[in-house]
Amino acid sequence: MTRELWKGNEALAEAAIRAGVDAFFGYPITPQTELLEYMARRMPELGRTFLQAESEIAAINMVYGAACTGVRAMTSSSSPGISLMQEGFSYIAGSEAPCVVVDIMRGGPGLGNIQPGQADYFQITRSAGHGDFHPLVLAPATVQEAVDLAYISFDLAFRYRTLVLLAGDGALGQMMEPVEMPPMRTPDATQPDWALTGAKGRPPRTITSLYLDADELASVNARLQEKLKTIAAAEQRWECFMTDDADLLVVAFGTVARIAKSAVRAARAAGVRAGLFRPISLWPYPAPVLDGLVDQVQGVLVAEMNAGQMLEDVRAIVRGRTPIRFLGRTGGVIPMPDEITNELTHMTRVNHRTNGAGMKRDVE
């Protein structure tokens, strides 16, 4: 297999195409736009559906409509656009229409900026719309990983009849890296038994998220929760980097995790035994693995491009067993490897001073 240089956004688009996406609906927004533009070129060439929608609200509802017919439908956007799609996400969750959404996060709140951000962690993992649901959220750290996850995203979406959200940030979307593209798949032509295809020779089918009767809606929710439990058990993904003998653990995802890798290497070169735990699935969060690592380390450093969102998940997993330090960058500022390394060396110094009994001031 040959490796070619691909830009993140375009690589994501091509991987979705090779995974068999039938229909793409989207709206331009930086730093995601190249994905839409790539689809605009490629999808018609392949006889597939591409349509630029009038808004992200329309785009997600077009995805919803197309998904109801059993085809592989997707959209992509960035933070402000994802906010507009949340209504649609909720309906899609309620009616279990499988689809894939790419979120190339940028700085917020409001119009924020077009720099990379991770400040939508809560939005995508906790509150992707009204009602009780979580999308399956996958956060690649490299262009290759983005390709690999996009390639399996429709399988996951259809297996669980769920929304799969591929969460990157502006850096991932814009960077160019060598990538090995998977082969073009011939999509499975069998129609799901729930798809709206016209009631020919069979009773009509309906797709709805409306259940006026309280008990009925409660039982729908019970079924959805059961499904989430199944996903939570089966779909945790993570990477452990140099964690076997680590005294200090960095927890980071996406672009920051990749920077943290360099920081961990640098820290080790300076004699600090650091390791990296990188959740790839943000929902479900790979909690059991992190939980297992906590007892072996003297401190955890959470690094994110936000004001401390995944930090809350880590806190809940650590449950006070070891000190947690937080390095957060907002506004689209990307933390530098040496900043993370400095945090790690600082943590060892504090650990020595206080004999591992805890760190004052900037730790909890």
Binding site: T49, A58, G65, A67, S95, T197, K200, T206, T208, L210
Partner: protein, 270 residues
Amino acid sequence: MNILLEHETPATDLDQMEIVYQRPDALTDLATHYCPGCSHGVIHHLIAEVIDELGIRSHTIGVAPVGCAVFAYKYFNLDSCEAAHGRAPAMATGIKRVLPDHIVFTYQGDGDLASIGGNEILHAALRGERITVIFVNNAVYGMTGGQMAPTTLAGMKTTSSPAGRNPLTQGYPLHLTEMLATMPGVAYAVRRSMHSVAETRKTKKAIRHAFTAQQQGLGLSIVEILAACPTNWHVEPADALDYIRDRMLPEYPVGDFKVSEGLGDRRLGD
């Protein structure tokens, strides 16, 4: 109308009797939840008759709105789905784009279509989506208890315009169908009314034209239908029909705002 219910008829008489009225195939046998005198149920019936007559039931997909007709998907005996409030044209676009040989229609109220879903209908029309839109204008938000809609008449009292709609601060009634008629993507844009039997027949013909326009791939087709909401107008069902004639028609005249040259059965008249 003559309603013949088979189980009420002695079996011996059946052979001699002609069935003059029966439930269309495109309707399920569920009793609707609509108020007495509401136009929604009759409009469902007209659509179902047209679908039967055109023989398109098995490849038609319906998109229900948020509004009193939210359960339309239960009443139509065909594949259907339920859209978010106002988003039916976008959802229908998604369906039609991947199933271009199917017939796709939305059924929407005036709040759904002309207010929250204004952008979706405008752009579906702009793109000339080959879908049919049944736009039921009863000048209020029926489902939520009769609040003001963009279509509410000037001076009309609603629960959210208790002093009567003042156009200077609350806007003038919106003529959405006329607006859409200006767009090249629209093949058929007409307004009809439900205030009499004769007008109801014309409504049915317009619905038929609208589906035909879609079959011919001419562009978006929309039939706006002036409809009764006796409950929120606080009038008796029979008086509601007069209300349409006397109050709604002067603001919203029935008529053909756009009929594409290519429409096959134009000669059917209105």
